[in-house]
Symmetry: C2
Subunit: 109 residues, 2 copies
Amino acid sequence: MQNQNLYADLPSNSDAGERFDALLARPGLRIERIASLGQASPPDFWYDQDEAEWVVLLQGSAGLRFADEPETRVLQPGDWLYIAAHRRHRVEWTAAGETTVWLAVHFSE
Amino acid sequence: MQNQNLYADLPSNSDAGERFDALLARPGLRIERIASLGQASPPDFWYDQDEAEWVVLLQGSAGLRFADEPETRVLQPGDWLYIAAHRRHRVEWTAAGETTVWLAVHFSE
C-alpha cells in the first residue's frame, strides 16, 4: 500500500504560481496543502476569509503579516497559528529557491 | 510575537508515555499533536474511534496497522492518511531513540 506524502509531487518551478491541493474536504472542513516557490500576496492584497484557519508551515519559510499587527511574523518549520475568520492577513514573502510547504485546516465556526 | 511551534517542548524521555497536546478544539473538530518516544499500542489493543481522523507523521517513523489490512504500513515523515470512524487500527511501533511527531485532525462526519 503506497502512502500519500505531503512532500511528494511538489511544484519545481515558480512559473505556475502557488499550488493548492485539497487533501480532505467535508462540509465545514477542508485540509489543504499549499506549496509556494517564492510567491507572495499581490501588493495591497489582504486575505479576508469567511472561514477560520489553522495553518502550519512545514518546510521553507515565510513572512506573514496581519493587518492588525505592525510587524510581519517570520514563520519557520513547525510554526503554526490560528487565523480567525475575517482577520485580514497577507503573505509578504516566501523563501526563494526552495519550496515552502504549508498545511492549512479551514473550518467554519 | 513568539510563534507556537510543533517541534517545541517535545518530551525527552519515554517514561512519561506518549504525549497528546490539543492545539485547537472546537465542537466536532480537534487538532492534536502526538509525540511518541518508542511507544506502541498495548498488545491486542485497537483504536475504535467515534470520530474520523486525518493524520500525518511529521518526524520520526511508525508502523500503523489496520485490522482490515494484512500488512503494517510504515509511515515516514510527510505520510498522511484518512482513518474513517470505527476503522480499527493500532500503532505497532514508533522509532526508538527519536521523537515521533504526529499531527492529527479529529472530526465528526
